[in-house]
Symmetry: C2
Subunit: 387 residues, 2 copies
């Protein structure tokens, strides 16, 4: 097991009706900015619950943070934060609103061009960020209980990430009832996103961190089990609750402690979103099977372990199990209604591998994957395999 | 899944050599009291590493906190804390030293008779305790990453518990190398203690909290796997690391979120320690099989799930699997060298059931177990079954 440090101070309020806790958890002595995405929370009752809980708190609202939170939009919010002397942020949304809020929490106290925070990138330590909290309306990214974030900038076709110990939400409210009204396409994205978060921490090589590997296999199996239930027409509270808690624990830092991690699927996937606007989760489904096939020799033992422990495949040798594992993974994506080939999303795909290679070259990438040995040419081939 | 709140702000430093982090993590502007048990840390190199890391920090040492941390001894430490204006505590030891340190952290700022904290009991909120950290030398209780503690008082034959959100360690250092020199008897106790911590959160009835149940089964299976390795003569670092991390996660609060819990085994076990001085972990091995047999109807479904998912027992009906589960549990204790009958520990056992009943009656116990329906008479019968 590798040495590690772990600290996650976010307080979670989990369950039906917990949104009312805002009334006691939010500060009374600070001006609060509520940050929202589109207007879905006005239709599902979340906005009404929040308004009621906020009562006489001093707050303003900012609407319109889009998926892949956009730098230009966030700069408008930053103007308001500075002009109105906002002292506390409340993100109400999914990963995009929460990620955008984290960036704003850092940018509000940053002395310099806010884009530097992402471009260098700058890690935000404690006391270098505005305090903030979240009300999660879309389980997927785990952003509600970690300190990382990803921001997009259309102007430069960039999607960059940063984070730091100052960017854990003070608290997050997770009410599985919100899943009731999420469009099924987004539920599928959420399942896929959380699933690949675990794969990025798991699909490397067999390690001695037995407990962490079992925890990861537990999240994968539970996501597989609840997927058809949360995608069904009839709402199932307990399936929604497991889905939500799986998404949070998939990326709250605990699983990856003491183990090697990959994250190459995300690095390549972010480029597909930047060029083609494909939903983040779907880019992961496009890239991951090709990534595992391209790196089959390096990953086949862990793929076989995944086949056995997650899919119950007991026949065949290591290579056969490993190959079946990749097929099972693709079938799982398809069962969510998610396509796994880039050409199924866009006709303009042919330059993508070249663009990814060029982007990685331009950033002096130090090597991707658990061995840090995948370069721009490897990324070219993996992306090409995913056409 | 039940509603829950979860927050655990303790920072963990895990791995070989991490003790040196004390040099940067401990405050320079406060007088520190180091708290130790016996002298074992002087023989295994831990004390030397700590002295080196502390360098020019301003600190005093207090030695001699015994197993089942004793109120009278802790009152001597409290005198020193007050007289010397101590501002920070560092526990170096296992669960007893850490539990004792938590009680001292609370008692140092408590305005009144310190025994009240345990007798009422008083929950210690943030800012009502001295800050403290730990260096774990004996994996077992999970106290290094939670906010609870148990204190014994010989004079009154009481063993009482309290806690509160102010009593999480600021940080804890977990170096699996310490396991190398722990006497095997104490390693066995540690495995048993952590194992029953999980059982107390798990062995109730099947719930809809699928992810948590899988996490708990993961800890149980991992403890079973590493047990022979950490009890072997040759030191196995990775087995020790899994053992250590299992013990911490068994009781850091995460597993029990959203599920019903039991804790009746601990309630009865504490009495056996108070009357007979039996090691805490061993009292759990004495009580748990009888507890599960006595409450067989209420627990048989979960016992069968445990048989299947933890022991791989697939044949037989629910009752058969459940019965085999209890036998497997007893065999597991025996494999650790731990006896499971009270009469194997003391000849003076015959009054024990009566004493437990009287103690529970005197404390107006509200009912034990996940259904809170076990009274003093049930405790009498369970303890008697364990003779």
């Amino acid at each position: 097991m590798l040495n590690f440090e772990f600290k996650n101070p976010t307080k979670v309020f989990f369950g039906r009706g917990e949104i009312e806790k805002l009334s006691t958890q939010l500060p009374k002595d600070k001006k609060i900015l509520l940050l929202f995405g589109g207007g879905s929370v006005k239709n599902n009752g979340v906005y009404d619950q929040i308004k009621k809980a906020l009562g006489t708190h001093n707050y303003l609202e900012f609407w319109g943070i889009p998926a892949n939170p956009e730098y230009e939009v966030l700069m408008s919010a930053l103007d308001i934060i500075k002009k109105e002397k906002i002292g506390y942020l409340l993100a109400v949304g999914g990963g995009s609103v929460i990620d955008g809020t984290k960036y704003l929490a850092a940018a509000a106290l940053y002395d310099g061009d806010p884009w530097e925070i992402l471009k260098k990138p700058v890690r935000t330590s404690e006391k270098e960020a505005l305090p903030f909290a979240t009300v999660l309306t879309l389980p997927a990214t785990g952003s509600e209980m970690n300190s990382g974030y990803v921001i997009s900038r259309k102007e430069t076709q960039e999607k960059l990430s940063s984070g730091g110990p100052g960017l854990f939400p003070e608290f997050s409210i997770l009410d599985p009832e919100v899943v009731r009204s999420i469009p099924k396409r987004q539920v599928a994205n959420g399942i896929c996103d959380a699933y690949v978060h675990v794969l990025e921490q798991y699909m490397t090589f067999p390690t001695t961190a037995t407990l962490q590997e079992r925890f990861m296999e537990s999240v994968l199996k539970t996501l597989q089990e609840v997927a058809p239930k949360v995608l069904a027409e009839v709402f199932d509270y307990d399936a929604a609750a497991n889905f939500m808690w799986c998404c949070t624990l998939a990326l709250n830092g605990l699983l990856q402690k003491g183990v090697p991690t990959d994250w190459a699927v995300h690095a390549m996937g972010h480029e597909l979103t930047a060029y083609h606007g494909i939903d983040h989760a779907r880019t992961l489904a496009i890239i991951s099977p090709s990534h595992y096939r391209y790196n089959f020799e390096a990953k086949k033992q862990k793929l076989a372990q995944y086949a056995e422990n997650v899919w119950g495949i007991t026949s065949g040798d290591t290579e056969e199990k490993a190959r079946e594992a990749i097929e099972k993974l693709e079938e799982f994506y398809h069962s969510l209604g998610i396509k796994t080939k880039l050409s199924e999303y866009t006709h303009q795909y042919k330059d993508t591998a070249s663009k990814v290679r060029a982007a990685f070259l331009s950033r002096n990438w130090q090597g991707l994957g658990e061995h840090k040995n995948l370069g721009p040419d490897d990324a070219y081939k993996i992306v090409e395999m995913s056409y």
